[in-house]
C-alpha cells in the first residue's frame, strides 16, 4: 500500500491505496465521489474526466481512469461535484442545462470538465475548435450539437459577452401544416 494525500473538491484526504489503484476508482470507491463515472476501459470515452493540478499547480483535465491514485499525491482534484460554488452553478453547467446539452447525462460530468479545461486554454473558440477539443469525450445521446452550442454559450458568458440567444429554449412553434383529417387534439 502507498500513502497519499490530496485535495478533492476542497477537502483534504489522506489514504493508503494499492499502487495499481486508478484515480477513477479511488474517487468512487474510497471517497464515495460517485459523480465521476467510468464508461470504458481504454481511455476513449472521457466520462471519468476530472481536473487535476499539474506540477505547476494549474488545473488541467485528465481522464481519471488513466491516472494512478498515487500520481495524484500532493495534487488538487476537482470533480463535477466540486464545480458549482455557493453562488450556484458553474457557467458551463448552466449552459449545458439551458442548451439541452444532455439527455441521459452519463457522459455529462466528463464532458463538462473537459469543456471547462478547453475554455481555460481557449476562451473564445470557434465551433470547429470546440468540436476538436471535445474529441476525447464520447456522447451517444445528443449528436454533440447542443453540447457544442453549450460550450460556445458558456464561453461567451465567461468572457462577459452577452450570451448567444438560445435558439432552443422557448423556440417559436414551427409552421404547422393543416391536416386533411381533423385531429381531436387535447387542449
Amino acid at each position: 500500500m502507498a500513502r497519499i494525500s490530496l485535495t478533492v473538491d476542497g477537502v483534504t484526504y489522506a489514504d493508503d491505496v494499492a499502487p495499481r489503484t486508478l484515480l477513477a476508482y479511488y474517487l468512487r470507491d474510497q471517497l464515495g465521489k460517485v459523480g465521476t463515472v467510468i464508461g470504458c476501459d481504454t481511455s476513449n470515452c472521457g466520462a471519468c474526466t476530472v481536473l487535476m493540478t499539474n506540477a505547476d499547480g494549474a488545473p488541467r483535465s485528465v481522464k481519471s481512469c488513466s491516472v494512478l491514485a498515487v500520481q495524484a499525491d500532493g495534487r488538487s482534484v476537482t470533480t463535477i461535484e466540486g464545480l458549482s460554488t455557493e453562488d450556484g452553478m458553474h457557467p458551463m453547467q448552466r449552459a449545458f442545462h439551458e442548451q439541452h446539452a444532455l439527455q441521459c447525462g452519463f457522459c455529462t460530468p466528463g464532458m463538462i470538465m473537459t469543456a471547462v479545461d478547453l475554455l481555460a486554454d481557449n476562451p473564445d473558440p470557434t465551433e470547429d475548435e470546440v468540436r476538436k477539443g471535445l474529441e476525447g469525450n464520447l456522447c451517444r445521446c445528443t449528436g454533440y450539437q447542443n453540447i457544442v452550442r453549450a460550450v460556445l454559450a458558456a464561453a461567451a458568458d465567461m468572457r462577459g459577452v452577452p450570451a448567444v440567444p438560445s435558439p432552443r429554449a422557448e423556440a417559436p412553434a414551427p409552421s404547422a401544416v393543416a391536416p386533411a383529417q381533423t385531429a381531436e387534439v387535447a387542449p
Binding site: V37, T42, H97, E98, G105, V130, Q145, N146, V185, P187
Partner: protein, 793 residues
C-alpha cells in the same frame, strides 16, 4: 388560484432532470453501496464454440477475500433460463439459453464461471485462478455458410442452424397483388443486395446490476430499460414469487435498445446473491459489454423492385437472411419482422412479398438496437428508389413523388396491411428541399461533374416513415409476441394541491419527467413546477411495459391524459358538493371548477384535494380520494415521417467523405416539448450517420470480436459529425388524443440511407452504384477503383 397563463404543451421547457445530472448527484446502479455488499466477476469463454470438459473453481473459492466461486453446473437446477418473448413462427427453433454455460459455449464472451469477493479487484483477479478445459468445436460465423447442409451446428440438438422462416405475401393477405405477376410484367427490374453490418448499441453507461436478497424479498437495481419485464421474466423463469421481487431502474445512462434486454448477468447476479445470502453488485467493463451485451442489425437484404418506365413501382420482393447470433434474446427473432411492414415505406406499391430467415451463428446474439428492423427496411428501400431513379435517368426525388402516398389520400392502408393515420410527405419534402437549396446544389453538382473535380458533390435523399409506438396488444398477439403493448399511468392528488404522477414507462434520457409535467400541467391546470413524475421502481410504478420502440409518449402519454381526466371527473363531484350545485353546472378550466353564470363560485382542484383529504363533508358514497389510474392500449401504431437530405463531398482520390450539410424535416405530429424533440432528432441522426460512415462489429475467422473496445469500435466524436439543420412540419396523429407520434428512433431510421445515397450519388458518373457500410475512405476508394477497372475492362 392556479391559473395557467399559456399552455405548457408546445413550450421548450428546460428539463427538470438536469439539475442532478449536471452536478454529479445522479443515482447510477454502479453507485449503489449496500451494507455487506459483495462484488461479482464473470469468467467468459475465449472460444466461439467449445465443449466444457472440466472446470475447477476450488483455487478461486479458497483465495483470500473470495466468498464464493461457482459454475453453471453448480446452479443448473436453479439458475433458470433466459426467455425469448417472440417466437415468430410455430416451428421456430428456440434453444435453451442458460445464463451461465453448463456444458457448451457458443460464442466468445459467454459466461462460464463466477467469483464473488469482498471487492471488485479481488473478484476480477481471482478469475485467473479458475481452471477450465475446453474441447473446441467447429465454428460457423457466416449466415449463408450456416445454412449449408454441411455446416457445423451452433446447437447440435436442433439439427439445423435455421431458426425460422417468416413470410408475408400481399396476395395471400389480400392487401395487394402477387409479386410474381409484377415480375412478369415489369418494364424495369432493379435487383440489389445490401448488407446491414453488425452494430453495437454502446450506451455510455455500461450495464450494471445490484441484487439485494436481504429483508425477506429481493430488490434488484438494474441499468435496464425494462424493469417491469425484468421482474415478470425473473419470476417466470426462476420460479421466484413475483410479489417478492422489486425491480428498480435508477438513473439509467442511455439504452438505445441495448438495455431492452433481460441479461445473463442479471440472472447470474441473482444466483450469486442467493448463494451468498448478501447483496451483490456486478458492473461490466466496456470490453465485456462489447462482447456479451447484444448487438444490432447484421442481415443480408436481397431486394427486387419492379417498375414501369415512367417510374411507377409495381411490386417489391424482399428476402432477408438475418443473423440471430448464438442464442435468442428477448425479441431477437422479431427484430427483422418489425421491418417487414416498412419496406413499402411511404409508397403505394401494389404488390409486396417479404421473406426472412433467421440463422444461428457462433456470435454474440443480436437484438433490438435503435429502430430495430425499421432502419434496415428504410435503408433498403431508399437506396433502391435511388437505383431506380438512376436506371430511369430521372431525379431521385421525382421517383419518390410518383410513388408516395399523397396527403389527401390519408388515412391510407398499405400493401403491408398497416393503416397510416396521417402524414404530409409533400410538406416535409418541400421544406427540406428549400432548407438545403436542393436545386442550387444540383446545379453545383452538374458544374463539378462537368469540370471532373477531384472532390465530387453528392446529394442523398431519405423520405422515410416508420411504425412505432409499440403497440396494439392484439396486433402483437397476432404476430406471436408474448406480451401486450398497453401502458399505465396514475395520478395522485396530494392535499396541498401538488401532483404525483406515476408512469409505467421507464425513461433513460428522454426527458419524460419534463414532458409528462407539461401534459399534466395543462390537463389539470396546475403549475408545471407542482408536478412530480415517478417511474422505474416496481414498488411505485406497479404496472407498466417500459420504454422502447418510441412508445412512451404515444402510449404512456395517452394513459396519462386519461388518468388526469378521471381525476378531474372525481373532483367535479366533490366541487359540485362544495359549491352546492349540480356537476352539470360546472365548467373546468385552468385548474378551477366554476359555476356557469356565477364565475365567483369556484373551487380549485387543490381545494377538492384538500376536501377529500379531510373528508369531513363528502357526498354519500364518494370515496375520499381523487387519485386515478388508466391503462391505454393503442388501436394502431404511430407513423412519424420526414425528409432527410445530405450533401456530401467525396474525394475521388482518397475516398474521404465530408458531410457538408445535413438537413432534416421531421413530422412527429403534435409536439409536447420542441427542445426535447429536437434533441432526440440530433441523437438519432448521429447514430444513423454512425452506421453509414463509422461503425461495424467485426469478427475474425475464429469468432473473436476484433472490435471489442472503443479503440476499434469507432463511435463518432464531436469532431466526426456535421452540424444538423433540423426543422419540423406538424401533421397531428389522428390515432391518439394528444395528436403525437414517436420520435426516439426516427433520426436513426432516416439518416443512414440519406448519407449513403449522397456518397453513391457523388460517384455515379464514375460507375459506382454501391458502397458497403460503413463507408470508410478505404471502402469508398475501393468502390471507385473497382468501378473504374470494370469500365476499363
Amino acid at each position: 388560484m392556479t391559473a395557467v397563463a399559456e399552455p405548457e404543451v408546445g413550450r421548450a421547457r428546460l428539463r427538470k432532470e438536469d439539475a442532478r445530472l449536471i452536478a454529479g448527484r445522479t443515482r447510477w446502479t454502479e453507485n449503489m453501496a449496500l451494507p455487506g455488499m459483495l462484488h461479482v466477476a464473470i469468467l467468459r469463454s475465449p472460444h466461439a464454440h467449445a465443449r466444457i470438459s472440466r472446470i475447477d473453481v476450488s483455487a478461486a473459492a479458497g483465495a483470500a477475500n473470495v466468498v464464493a466461486a461457482f459454475t453453471g453446473a453448480d446452479v443448473s437446477e436453479t439458475q433458470g433460463a433466459l426467455a425469448c418473448a417472440w417466437p415468430v413462427t410455430e416451428d421456430i427453433v428456440m434453444p435453451t439459453y442458460p445464463p451461465l454455460a453448463v456444458t457448451e459455449v457458443r460464442h466468445v464472451g459467454e459466461p462460464v464461471a463466477v467469483v464473488v469477493a469482498r471487492d471488485r479487484a479481488t473478484a476480477v483477479d481471482s478469475l485467473e485462478l479458475i481452471d477450465v478445459e475446453y474441447e473446441p468445436l467447429p465454428v460457423v460465423l457466416d449466415i449463408e455458410a450456416a445454412l449449408a447442409d454441411d455446416s457445423p451446428l451452433v446447437h447440435a440438438d436442433a439439427g439445423t442452424n435455421k431458426c425460422y422462416t417468416w413470410v408475408f405475401d400481399s396476395a395471400q393477405a389480400g392487401s395487394g397483388g402477387a409479386t410474381s405477376d409484377a415480375a412478369a410484367e415489369a418494364e424495369v427490374t432493379i435487383q440489389r443486395r445490401y448488407v446491414q453490418q453488425r452494430l453495437i448499441p454502446s450506451s455510455m453507461e455500461p450495464r450494471s446490476v445490484v441484487v439485494d436478497p436481504t429483508g425477506g424479498d429481493w430488490t434488484i437495481y438494474s441499468a435496464t430499460q425494462i424493469p417491469h419485464i425484468l421482474r415478470f421474466l425473473l419470476a417466470a423463469t426462476t420460479g421466484t414469487p413475483e410479489h417478492k421481487i422489486n425491480v428498480i431502474a435508477p438513473d439509467v445512462g442511455g439504452g438505445f435498445g441495448g438495455k431492452l434486454a433481460v441479461t445473463p448477468e442479471e440472472w447470474i447476479a441473482f444466483a450469486a446473491a442467493n448463494r451468498v445470502g448478501r447483496p451483490v453488485k456486478y458492473t461490466e467493463s466496456r470490453s465485456e459489454n462489447m462482447v456479451s451485451a447484444h448487438h444490432g442489425r447484421d442481415l443480408i437484404q436481397d431486394i427486387t423492385l419492379y417498375a414501369k418506365r415512367d417510374g411507377t413501382v409495381t411490386g417489391l420482393d424482399v428476402k432477408l437472411t438475418a443473423n440471430m447470433g448464438a442464442y435468442l434474446g428477448i425479441v431477437t427473432p422479431g427484430v427483422p419482422i418489425l421491418g417487414a411492414f416498412m419496406y413499402n415505406a411511404i409508397y403505394k406499391f401494389p404488390a409486396y412479398r417479404f421473406e426472412c430467415t433467421g440463422v444461428f451463428t457462433n456470435t454474440t446474439k443480436t437484438d433490438a438496437y435503435r429502430g430495430a428492423g425499421r432502419p434496415e427496411a428504410t435503408y433498403a428501400i431508399e437506396r433502391t428508389m435511388d437505383e431506380l431513379a438512376a436506371e430511369l435517368g430521372v431525379d431521385p426525388m421525382e421517383v419518390r413523388r410518383r410513388n408516395w402516398i399523397k396527403h389527401e389520400e390519408f388515412p391510407f392502408t398499405t400493401v403491408a396491411t398497416l393503416t397510416y393515420d396521417s402524414g404530409n410527405y409533400e410538406a416535409a419534402t418541400d421544406k427540406a428541399m428549400r432548407m438545403l437549396g436542393y436545386d442550387e446544389l444540383r446545379a453545383e453538382q452538374q458544374a463539378r461533374r462537368a469540370a471532373e473535380d477531384r472532390v465530387q458533390l453528392g446529394i442523398g435523399i431519405s423520405t422515410y416513415t416508420e411504425m412505432c409506438g409499440l403497440a396494439p396488444s392484439r396486433v402483437l398477439g397476432a404476430l406471436r409476441y408474448g406480451a401486450g403493448g398497453w401502458e399505465n399511468a396514475a395520478v395522485r392528488m396530494l392535499p396541498t394541491g401538488k401532483v404525483e404522477v406515476v408512469t409505467g414507462t421507464s425513461p433513460h434520457g428522454q426527458g419524460h419527467v419534463t414532458s409528462w409535467s407539461q401534459i399534466v400541467a395543462d390537463r389539470l391546470g396546475v403549475p408545471f413546477e407542482d408536478v412530480e413524475v415517478r417511474y422505474g421502481d416496481t414498488r411505485i410504478a406497479h404496472k407498466g411495459l417500459d420504454t422502447y420502440g418510441s412508445r412512451s409518449l404515444t402510449v404512456g402519454g395517452v394513459a396519462l391524459v386519461q388518468a388526469c381526466d378521471r381525476v378531474v371527473e372525481k373532483a367535479r363531484t366533490v366541487a359540485a358538493h362544495l359549491l352546492e350545485c349540480s356537476t352539470d353546472d360546472l365548467e373546468f378550466a385552468d385548474g378551477t371548477f366554476r359555476v356557469r353564470g356565477t364565475p365567483d363560485a369556484a373551487k380549485t382542484l387543490g381545494d377538492c384535494a384538500l376536501a377529500v383529504f379531510a373528508a369531513h363533508d363528502l357526498p354519500d358514497g364518494v370515496e375520499a380520494t381523487l387519485d386515478a389510474d388508466a391503462t391505454f392500449d393503442p388501436q394502431t401504431f404511430s407513423f412519424p415521417h420526414g425528409t432527410h437530405l445530405c450533401a456530401a463531398d467525396v474525394d475521388r482520390e482518397t475516398g474521404e467523405v465530408h458531410l457538408r450539410r445535413y438537413v432534416c424535416v421531421d413530422d412527429v405530429g403534435r409536439v409536447i416539448n420542441p427542445m426535447i424533440v429536437e434533441g432526440q432528432v440530433h441523437g438519432g441522426v448521429a447514430q444513423g450517420i454512425a452506421q453509414a460512415l463509422f461503425e461495424e462489429a467485426v469478427y475474425d475467422a475464429d469468432g473473436n470480436l476484433l472490435t471489442g473496445s472503443f479503440v476499434d469500435y469507432t463511435i463518432p466524436s464531436a469532431a466526426d459529425l456535421p452540424p444538423i439543420e433540423s426543422d419540423r412540419t406538424e401533421t397531428p396523429a389522428t390515432s391518439n388524443p394528444l395528436g403525437v407520434k414517436g420520435v426516439g428512433e426516427a433520426g436513426t431510421i432516416a439518416a443512414t440511407p440519406a448519407v449513403v445515397n449522397a456518397i453513391v450519388d457523388a460517384l455515379r458518373p464514375y460507375g459506382v452504384h454501391d458502397v458497403p457500410m460503413p463507408c470508410t475512405p478505404e471502402r469508398v476508394w475501393r468502390a471507385i477503383r473497382s468501378a473504374s477497372q470494370e469500365v476499363a475492362s
